[in-house]
Symmetry: C2
Subunit: 289 residues, 2 copies
């Protein structure tokens, strides 16, 4: 493993959790943080993270062996252009943790070349900011890597080693396959949680007094950052739209069964859903509801 100096761009939930996990798992690696605002320095320190701090993206890149972009995906191309102006270490690997991959990989590869490989650790929370960061965020999480034909094998292997050290299970997809998979298991569920919340409470907010664990869990992610999720939806518009139409057809199918009193059909529908839901792995990172 040739990681020596690791530069994290964006001290939010993911960047902060990475730093905390790295202090545990790779204590020999030096850490840097880049943030747009000088004030971030204090919140990093407040979480007990020892790191050099920069507000200049070029200064934060010089000398790094591994650069990880943990900002919203919209910000990444601009950061990549500034990083590419620096004389980087010969073996400097750049990755990101963005929730969409085709748009990120297609925009960053021309700028950064074969040293860029996309990552997407499937870990997060409806909470945001370094205050919500935790060292075990990546433990047992799936991490989706998106190498392309241009990816150098040595960079890919280093990236695999890196995420494995943090406790992730690895999966590899093309950027387009990645976006289709996560539209299914992350972006669609997020959108459905917002639909459920609005359909349930918009016309009677007082019903919230009756909620139990089912509503709480089914809608938890709807408390996520609206601006972040607008960006994610924009970055995966085609795949998400396809899935939303699929959900609409499935909802119509269910509504018909309930409305017409087809209880046998409804039980088959619920049984099919249960069988699929029962395939979810039991060991996933804990959420904090």
């Amino acid at each position: 493993m040739s990681e020596r100096l690791l530069s994290i761009y964006g001290p939010g939930l993911l960047g902060g959790s990475l730093a905390l996990a790295l202090q545990d798992r790779m204590p020999e690696v030096k850490l840097r943080f880049w943030a747009r605002r000088e004030q971030a320095r204090e919140s990093i320190k407040a979480r007990g993270i020892e790191a050099e701090f920069f507000t200049d993206p070029m200064a934060a890149a010089a000398g790094a062996s591994l650069i990880i972009l943990c900002t919203p995906v919209e910000t990444m191309p601009d950061l990549a252009r500034q990083i590419a102006q620096v004389t980087l270490e010969a073996d400097c690997l750049v990755t990101d943790v963005g929730s969409v991959k085709a748009s990120v990989v297609n925009r960053l590869t021309p700028i950064l070349g074969s040293r860029f490989v996309g990552s997407h650790p499937m870990a997060g929370s409806e909470k945001t900011g370094i205050q919500a960061a935790r060292a075990d965020l990546f433990q047992n999480a799936a991490c989706l890597l998106t190498p392309t034909a241009q990816t150098q094998a040595s960079y890919l292997q280093r990236l695999r080693d890196f995420w494995t050290t943090l406790g992730c299970r690895l999966l590899e997809f093309s950027p387009e396959e990645h976006d289709e998979k996560v539209a299914r298991i992350s972006h669609l569920p997020h959108m459905m949680a917002t639909v459920t919340t609005l359909a349930a409470l918009r016309s009677d907010p007082s019903a919230v007094a009756c909620v139990a664990g089912g509503f709480r869990d089914t809608t938890r992610v709807a408390a996520g950052d609206p601006s972040l999720w607008t960006g994610i939806a924009a970055g995966n518009r085609a795949a998400l739209t396809t899935l939303l139409h699929e959900a609409s057809r499935t909802l119509a199918e269910l509504t018909h069964l309930v409305e017409t009193g087809d209880d046998e059909g409804l039980q088959r529908f619920l049984t099919e859903a249960k069988a699929l839901r029962d395939t979810v792995p039991l060991s996933l990172p804990r959420s904090r509801a």
Copy 2:
């Protein structure tokens, strides 16, 4: 509090949790269980519950000061008819824990008279059976009581005291209001979880390898018992159908925003959902995901 001998019909998740909670909170009260099958006796004992055991619904009712029906709602009218044939204690209060109330109250009140008052503790799990029962299931749960014009005040007050002793927050609604509220915050979310699961995984079950906490929580209840939920949907068909149509309109609204790239509108939609989701009380019974 005049509870002396409490007879629980149905040793499942709710009946078993009631018995465990009562052993903690009202140790002076004697417990009985009625179950259809003799084999249930062993699983009750295996959970450390001290109770008399009956397979005859009439024998289980005689002498009880409080009868709680914890069976599927379809079974309740038949049990009530048998219970009504017994010479019950003069102050015997009968309640249930069913997830729908208008159909239960309308069918059980003519059979049991003013001694019947409906309850719905908002606590449960996608798991079923006495194996999943736990003493703290009702702690901090909302419990919805559904008195009617026929309800005697003294029975209602005893029911309030009973659930309060188990740690519940009380809310009171007419049976019809109850069904409308729980369609919003329980039955709709359950159905949406099954739709999300099917839309996400039906056409690509392998995507489950990528799931994280968001999918796990958003779809958790879809692992619930299909037969139980078919009964609940049948018992609350009108209110649930209305909500499913509302969800369908809301999903169409969201799909249009995503599809047309109206990011400003999408952010407003997500912000409205977050504001409503943020009203969910923080202290709810824990779920075991």
